[in-house]
Each structure stands twice: as structure tokens, then as C-alpha cells.
């Protein structure tokens, strides 16, 4: 038995919400896709996966239920890189069967890394994928890439099981609670069987950056504004008084020094109310800019770090059994979810050594959701926009991409939707 070390870890603060809110429709799984310019070979991929896992002990875990809390336990289950066999972002966590909480699959030129959110956030998973792809290419092309130095990751960055929330939480009072009205809700027919509808658009990042410079703002804000406008174009008139609220994940590593390979992010809500503004791009961007500035201020970020800690340290909450906590967290999650229309997440730039660039075509990321969510990721000169949606129709996606093409930005679209619907 290899279970001689008894290594285990509490779930990090932000991850505590994921096991209990994971459902078939939204299993809290996100997926990174790397598209190579050549067919993926299963043997070397498996080899690369095993090498990578040695650097990321945080991924070699199963999730178990304790009396009071969930926890992660080191496992000796061996992951297998297999051909893509189920719809994207299918459940990875099962209460009754202990399995690893991530999965590597491949299909033709694509390598997919699907991760249950309780294990890590986008940053941690992106590191994993970078190492995996780098190792894979080294194995497949030993002549060209064999001599390359290892990736520039910090060992602690991959191994740290640190809960950075605990580290940075303090007793600062929370700012006065903002009264948030019920946000606009997207409606529509849902995909059957809880499947996720994914539309990935690829565009040259330069064109997008030029566009955002013309608007004198950042890329993330432009994306938010475009999504808000796309949602507006599908909004029924009777809902106009409801604000369109987007949840924007904030990577707290950019604001607090942390080398955690686990979850360290927070979510800020930005929104626009069409009954109060003129709905022009300038006005939306102006509103967003104010909200971003406020949301990313140090005091506000500190408050976000403190947000959950108080709850988790509460003695009564601690000694209540897990099933009670699950119930309470589900209720809380649902009430937060009601205040959000959709979500936009700009994961940022993925860096790979220049020598491997000739083998790579593009990267993409998307996440399971009960609503609709946009994730974007930049690699080299390409930015990918991935809309994942629980709804069967693609009206908002169409509006979004038509805005881009109307600005003269070429877009290439790929989707998992089958044609005969």
C-alpha cells in the first residue's frame, strides 16, 4: 500500500463552495484545450501526464466527505489519458465513487485538461497544461526540443498547497453592503441531458487590442461591454429595468503575493442598467470603468479575501455537520447566483517557450455553467473566446461575434453543437 504517508489537505477557502453546488448541469468543471498542429499520440501523452503529475502533487487527490468538512486526500489512482469520450465539462466528482478530480483527454489534434474547481483555479490548471504540453512535445520531438531547459515555473508554485485566503485574511470591517437588485436572467430552452453548448471563436489578438485602444480601455472591459450589448439585443422589453450583471473572476495572485497552486480568486460583479443609460458602447464602457476601478481597489480586494473567512471561522458553522453546511451553502449560492446574469472571465495570456510555438495552433478555456459564460485566453497572436452555455440557442453568441466581425475583426468559429437539432 502506498498510503503510508497519510497526506491530506483541507479544501481551500474558495473551494468549499464547489463540492456541494456541483450538479449534473453545472458540475463546476473547467476545461483547457490545447490544439496542436499535428495528431496527438496517446503513448507519449500518457508519459508526459505521469511526468507532469510528479510536479503537481495537488492534482493526485480524491475528495472525501468528513463529518464536518470535505477534504482532499492523496490517492494512488493512476490517471489515464484517453480519447475524448463524453461531452465537455462532464462531472468529475462523484460522492459515491472516489475518482481523481481531473482528466486528460485527446481528440485528433486536441489535448483537453478538465479540472474540478475544488482542486485548483484557472491559474493552477494553466500551469499544469503548460508543463503537460511542453513535456509531451519534448517526448514526441526529442531532436528539436530535447535540449530545451525546463519551463520557467517555480517549484513552489506547483507544489504549494497553501490556502492564501487564510494567510491574507484580517479583521478589517466589511464595507457597507451594497443593495443589489435582482439581475436580468437569461431564458431559453436548455440543452438536453445537461450537456454544455460550447462555441469557440478565434481572432487575432492584435485586432482586438487595437479595438480596445481605440475605445481607450482594457481588453477585459471591452469583452464585458460586448457581452452586455449582446445580451441587450436579446433582452425582452419588459426586462429592460433589470440590470445586466456580469460576474468577473479576479485572480487574487495579481494583488496579493501568493504561490498557491490551489484556488486563489474572487468574483466581482459589474453591471449595466439599460433603463438608466443610453446603451451606447461609450456609456457602457464608462460605467464599467468606474465599477472595475472600485472593484479592484485594495480595500475592496481585502474585503473579498475576508468575505468567506468570517463564515468559515464561525464556531457554530464549524461544528455543524457537513450536510447542514451543504444545505446552507447551496442556499447562499443560489441567492448570489440570482444577482448575476452571466459571467466573463479573461484568463489572460498563456506563455510557452518560443521553440514550441511551431507545434501549437491555439489554446482555449471554458467552464461549466447553468447560464452562459464567456472565457477568453490569449496565446501568441491568437485570442480565443469560448462561450459555454446551458441553453440550446446561440443568439447572444451570434450578436457577440457579429459585433467583432462588423469591426473588421476576422473570427473563426468552432462548436460542439450538432447540426441536426
Amino acid at each position: 500500500m502506498s498510503h503510508s504517508k497519510f497526506r491530506w489537505a483541507r479544501l481551500d477557502t474558495a473551494a468549499k463552495i464547489f463540492p456541494c453546488t456541483s450538479s449534473r448541469r453545472d458540475p463546476k468543471v473547467f476545461c483547457f484545450v490545447c490544439e496542436l498542429k499535428e495528431l496527438v499520440q496517446p503513448g507519449p501523452l500518457q508519459q508526459a501526464l505521469e511526468q507532469t503529475l510528479e510536479l503537481f502533487p495537488g492534482f493526485q487527490v480524491i475528495l472525501k466527505r468528513g463529518m464536518f468538512w470535505y477534504y482532499l486526500e492523496e490517492s494512488d489512482i493512476r490517471p489515464v489519458a484517453r480519447k475524448e469520450y463524453r461531452p465537455p465539462c462532464s462531472p468529475l466528482y462523484d460522492r459515491d465513487v472516489h475518482t481523481l478530480l481531473f482528466e486528460v483527454t485527446y481528440y485528433e489534434c486536441h489535448v483537453n485538461l478538465e479540472v474540478f474547481h475544488a482542486v485548483s483555479d484557472g491559474t493552477g490548471a494553466m500551469h499544469f497544461l503548460r508543463v503537460l504540453i511542453f513535456r509531451y512535445l519534448q517526448i514526441v520531438h526529442p531532436k528539436e526540443l530535447g535540449g530545451l531547459p525546463d519551463l520557467d515555473y517555480d517549484a513552489s508554485e506547483t507544489q504549494s498547497m497553501d490556502d492564501s485566503f487564510e494567510r491574507y485574511a484580517n479583521h478589517q470591517k466589511k464595507p457597507k453592503t451594497r443593495h443589489v437588485h435582482r439581475a436580468l436572467h437569461l431564458h431559453g430552452t436548455k440543452e438536453p441531458d445537461g450537456n454544455l453548448n460550447v462555441v469557440i471563436g478565434t481572432a487575432p489578438v492584435k485586432a482586438l487590442l487595437d479595438y480596445s485602444h481605440r475605445c481607450k480601455t482594457s481588453l477585459t472591459m471591452v469583452l464585458c461591454a460586448l457581452v452586455i450589448r449582446a445580451i441587450r439585443s436579446e433582452m425582452p422589453v419588459r426586462d429592460l429595468k433589470r440590470p445586466v450583471v456580469l460576474a468577473v473572476p479576479v485572480n487574487l495572485r495579481n494583488h496579493f503575493r501568493s504561490a498557491s497552486a490551489r484556488n486563489f480568486f474572487s468574483v466581482m460583479d459589474v453591471g449595466y442598467n439599460f433603463s438608466k443609460g443610453d446603451g451606447s458602447m461609450q456609456d457602457i464602457l464608462h460605467t464599467l470603468e468606474q465599477q472595475f476601478q472600485k472593484g479592484l481597489s485594495p480595500a475592496e480586494l481585502q474585503y473579498r479575501v475576508n468575505q468567506y473567512i468570517g463564515l468559515i471561522r464561525n464556531p457554530f458553522a464549524r461544528i455543524s455537520p457537513l450536510s447542514c453546511k451543504d444545505f446552507a451553502m447551496r442556499v447562499g449560492y443560489r441567492s448570489t447566483s440570482r444577482k448575476e446574469t452571466s459571467a466573463v472571465s479573461n484568463v489572460g495570456i498563456i506563455h510557452m517557450p518560443p521553440q514550441v510555438a511551431p507545434y501549437l495552433r491555439q489554446f482555449a478555456v471554458f467552464v461549466s455553467t447553468e447560464k452562459m459564460q464567456l472565457c477568453s485566453l490569449t496565446y501568441e497572436d491568437k485570442i480565443t473566446f469560448s462561450f459555454s452555455s446551458a441553453f440550446a440557442d446561440t443568439d447572444i453568441q451570434r450578436c457577440f461575434f457579429r459585433f467583432l466581425t462588423a469591426e473588421g475583426i476576422p473570427v473563426e468559429v468552432d462548436t460542439n453543437l450538432s447540426e441536426n437539432r
Binding site: 472525501k64 464536518f68 477534504y71 459515491d96 446561440t394 460542439n416
Partner: protein, 221 residues
Amino acid sequence: MILKYCDKCKVSVRGNREHCPLCNAVLHGEAEPSGFPRLPNEHKKHKLWISILALSSVSACIICLLLNFLFRKHGQWSLFVLGGVVCMWMTLGLALYKQRNIPKTMVWEVFLVGLLSVLWDYFTGWRGWSINYVLPIVSMGVMVVLVFLSRLFHVAAGSLIVYLLVDALMGVIQLVLLLTGCITVPLPSLLCVGVSTVMLAAMLIFRGRKVREELRRRLHL
């Protein structure tokens, strides 16, 4: 090579498809493979035997209710049938819901069967058969099965410890019932308490460290 192109949306589209996924307009151009595999449409198949069983139990209930309504002088015997069917579906439903983990299911079933039999016993004029026989025999049986079949089901050592401990709770309940004098036929309960104690002792002696570690993890605050 010009990709499939949609004139309405002005986007190129990957995959061998006739229509634009965004606006359903007709595409033209050459197809480039899509990054998403065509997966078989896997609708969750409802098992036929469950449907047959469900229909037969519903019809049995209805027939009994109707017959009971016709021949009222024999009392409300159809309620027994209804209760029986409901209990059967509760135990079966639990087993089906948790079927991916058989050892865990067995432990849950011990408690469900125990509870249901106590209820039956109570509502049919307390004769004590539930606590005298059902509880000790079921919990003891599951404990023995767990120990001997743990290899077969590939139960991880940590999980087995927890399942046995939870099942041993039943032994504790038996002991309380014995001491308070609720149990009138003591032999099965005594056996159950004995087996539970021996099992606990064996676990502590052979796997003491593992038990402590598992408990520390499972009970951390």
C-alpha cells in the same frame, strides 16, 4: 484553402457542416475538421425492468385498494400492501441511487431497513420483533459481509474503517436497548454486540494507526 464561411455573420466555421451554428445560414467553402468529436447521443436509458416493476406495483396497489373498497368488512388490509410497496421502493430506490458504491449502500440500507422495521413493528402492535431480530441480524450480517467482501469490492482501507465504524453504531444502539430492557429475546442482540466489539478491537489492534488517521481526517473541524 478557404474555410466554410457564413455571409451573414462574416465568420469562418470549422467542422463539416452545412449551416452556420450561429444563424443557421447556408455555409460555403471547404470543410476543416472541428475540434469537437461527434459523440453518440447518450440519453440516459431507463432500465426496462424498473419500469415493469413500477407499473406492476402501482397496479397491485390500485387493485388492492379497489378490492378493499368492495369487501370492507375485513378491515383496511390494503394499507398493508401500500406500506409494503412503499417500503420496498424506498429500499430499492436507495440501492439504485447509490449502486456505484455497494459497500456504502449496504451500510445505508442497515439504517433504512432498521428504521422501517421498527415503524412496522410499532404500527402493528409492538411485538418487539424488529429490535429483537431484524436490527441485530441485519447489522451483524452487513458487518461480516463488509469484512469478507471488501477485497471483492476493492474498498479502500480508509473507507472500510468508516463503514465498519458506522455499522458498529448499530451495536451500540443494541447495547443501549439491552441495558434498558427493551429487548426481550437477548441472544441475537448479544451476538451483535459481541461481533461489533470484536470487530472494533480487531481494527484497533491491526489498523490502529490507520483508524486514528482516518478519524482525524474525517472529524477535523
